[in-house]
């Protein structure tokens, strides 16, 4: 690095004004622990990335958070031509943050681009139901599906934001990551690796958007990896909004005068995923269904919900969030806490003294440790391997994880295909590759008859439970803590909508 650059950078870091938070500056500073590896919504699967995506990009369809109905957004109307062809009319008069008009070319470019291998899309499961998209008129596009996919609108209402084609082609993915452009209520002003993202209200945001007009002038996302530093920042007014505050801290913060605590159940479900094929360890005990069942009986999920997670979290029995379409836990096998049965099953499987195993996790270390404690009580010695999400995902995908403490928020998609499909439909994070489950999930994903879908999913979820391929634990509840100056409401999809927040 030339010394001059270094000096300039040093100077810049010193002269930069203090980050002012709060109502007085009309700047809402929110903090979270990690930064997405790439701000482009198709190139990260971090929750922080989803927040940026929903506040800075528009989607074709809008799902009403109150009624659950699909309403027009960038698409003014749509029509199914047949099971695999969807026609949409694109709204006129919408502009991107850089002033370009949004048109059908942008839609077609975005969807076709993210399907190419060169795009290296990280969120493949969100887009690979599409085959191709073509411009069919000055204001219309047609999406061709690979096969019938009834949840298509749900995906178009969430993790499929529209990029500006001309700009993206000019700057490429790297340029886009540094200076992203969308059409949403907030525009991104700067992306500072390791520090965060600054946003401003988009003055030309189209009138009549179901998202409304944002009330707060500026947003700032700050990356603060340390949980205690985040709480200290909130207490001293350095940041205005934090989330995922552990219940113990939230209880205490409630007493603080200027802080509001909001607890809300989320769609995120924690579960243990087992290496049923024995890829991580030779002769893995996890290949034996009795061992997996023993583990399932050994963990007191109820006690964890009541004492550790608290708030509005619930024990889950099927591998999905119970309010998602197609998530049925009637008739799936249940595993109440029964350490004696767990020990008996282990003995039957030939492990009377238990065994040693690795347990990978990437968040809520306490919960993972509690699981380890319960396993220890029946003789299974689990070692924690605690990683960052991206590293955890990579080791899991390459088959190096024996038991994964997973959590999944379904990309806020309210359909079971967004959950079970990710882990059991033969994809990269499928550690089981059970053809029966894969077939049932495919049937469910591609059937257009809601009843048939439910039936197919029920079969898949039932088999996952009876074979104990994975142990669903509980839905998460998250504690939001924010300055009492702020009016903020939470949604179960775990996407804070800052465009709807306001100062009191």
């Amino acid at each position: 690095m030339p010394p001059r650059t270094l000096a300039a950078a040093l100077l810049a870091s010193l002269l930069a004004g203090p980050a002012l938070a709060g109502k007085a500056n009309d700047t809402l500073v929110y903090a979270s622990d990690s930064e997405p590896e790439n701000v482009s919504p198709y190139h990260n699967s971090a929750r922080e990335g989803v927040i940026l995506a929903r506040n800075c990009w528009d989607t074709l369809v809008y799902r009403n958070t109150k009624t659950g109905a699909y309403e027009p957004m960038l698409a003014t109307s749509w029509k199914w031509v047949d099971d695999t062809t969807l026609d949409l009319v694109i709204r006129e008069g919408v502009t991107f943050h850089n002033g370009d008009a949004l048109g059908p070319e942008d839609v077609a470019f975005t969807f076709n681009y993210v399907l190419t291998p060169e795009a290296r899309t990280v969120t493949r499961q969100n887009v690979d139901w599409m085959k191709s998209t073509e411009v069919t008129g000055p204001h219309s596009v047609r999406i061709h599906l690979k096969q019938p996919f009834p949840a298509a609108l749900e995906y178009l209402a969430g993790p499929t934001p529209i990029f500006p084609a001309a700009y993206f082609k000019k700057v490429g993915l790297d340029g886009f990551a540094k200076a992203p452009v969308g059409s949403g209520p907030y525009k991104i002003v700067s992306v500072d690796s390791g520090r965060g993202v600054k946003m401003e209200r988009f003055a030309q945001y189209w009138a009549g958007s179901p998202l409304g007009t944002p009330k707060i002038g500026k947003l700032e996302f700050r990356v603060i990896p340390d949980g205690e530093s985040r709480v200290a920042e909130l207490m001293t007014g350095g940041v205005d909004w934090i989330w995922r505050v552990p219940s113990d801290q939230a209880d205490q913060l409630r007493a603080a005068p200027n802080i509001t605590i909001l607890n809300s159940e989320t769609m995120r479900v924690g579960f243990l995923q087992f290496d049923t094929l024995g890829r991580a360890k030779e002769n893995s005990p996890l290949k034996d269904v009795r061992v997996r069942q023993a583990i399932s009986y050994a963990i007191d999920r109820k006690a964890m919900v009541d004492n550790l997670v608290r708030g509005s979290s619930r024990v889950m029995n099927a591998l999905c969030f119970i309010d998602q379409f197609g998530c049925v836990d009637q008739g799936v096998m249940r595993y109440p806490y029964d350490p004696a049965k767990a020990k008996a099953l282990l003995k039957e499987a030939g492990y009377p003294n238990g065994f040693e195993i690795d347990l990978g996790a990437y968040r809520e270390r306490d919960y993972a440790e509690a699981v380890i404690g319960y396993l220890g009580a029946v003789g299974i010695k689990a070692r924690l391997n605690y990683l960052r999400y991206a590293a955890f995902r990579d080791t899991l995908r390459s088959g190096k994880v024996s038991i994964g403490y997973q959590t999944w928020g379904s990309f806020s998609v309210n359909d079971v295909s967004a959950f079970a499909g990710v882990y059991f439909r033969g994809g990269e994070e499928d550690l089981t590759k059970d053809p029966v489950v894969i077939a049932d999930l495919q049937a469910g994903d591609s059937s257009t008859d809601p009843e048939k879908r439910k039936e197919a999913y029920a079969k898949a979820l039932g088999r996952i439970a009876s074979q104990a391929y994975a142990l669903p634990m509980f839905s998460y509840s998250t504690n939001y803590a924010f300055t009492s100056d702020l009016t903020f409401t939470a949604q179960p999809d775990e996407v804070p909508r800052f465009y709807a927040a306001s100062w009191k």
Binding site: L10, N38, P117, G194, V223, P225, A232, T236, R388, A390
Partner: protein, 304 residues
Amino acid sequence: MLAFTIRRILVAFAVAFTVAVASFLLLHLSGDLATSIAGPDASGPQIEQIRRDYGLDQPLLTQFLAWGWKALHLDFGNSFYFRERVIDLLAARLPITLYLGVIALAVALLVAIPLGVLAAVRRDTWIDRLALSVSVLGQAMPSFWFGLTLILIFSVNLRWLPVSGNATWKHFVLPAVALGYYAMPAVMRLTRNGMLEVLSSDFVRTARAKGLPPRKILIRHALRNAVIPVIALAAVQFGFMLGGSIVIEAVFSLQGLGQLAWESIARNDFPVVQAIVLVLAMIYIALTLAADLLNAFLDPRLRQ
């Protein structure tokens, strides 16, 4: 002096070369590079293509030479995680860590040298013992605990200083104190020992005999001589601080090199880790080289 200088520079180069080899191996031990560069979605043939494109199918020595040549031009490749040039990441983060290190060193020297002088002058009094206790305590507290305690007292309770981040100089005060505290004991002890040695030496005795005022003797004669070894120690400590700032940066969310290193390790982003190890080691080598040469220049006894 010339012979010493040449010898010393040769050692520095040899050490730098060894560190380069070590950090090159670190990257290669971290797993299959082609797979990591290709990313999780790549297919087998794509990975093979990358292996050929990046020369990863070549013998290790060839790869090392190619890598070394690039590294000499500050090209450390791309980060697996950010898919950005490693050098750009370093350029953004290094100034923060350097800044933190400089302030921390200043804090350490400004407290430790006077304390060391006082301890020497008031030897075997309560001041001496207090200085000793401070230094012993300083070595016995985990740095993150100390850092968090500083936050609790000065940010949360007193509200004097901000908790985290690096927006203004105020943000650097607490982390610099936390980091500098650990360098204090060594500096203090060395100053005290140096002072004791000089104070009992002939020329100070002569100066005293000549009736010079004690303050003048202390500053003009004693301290000047006692401070020579402290320069070398300061250089060493500065190097240690840069390497040791990981914990402090994590506590105070300072987006410096240490934090980047920690996060990169957790993300298995080894090109970044490797470059940071290399850069920190090079800074250390350069600093100690400079300190040794300066010291040898000031104190001819050290030249053999």
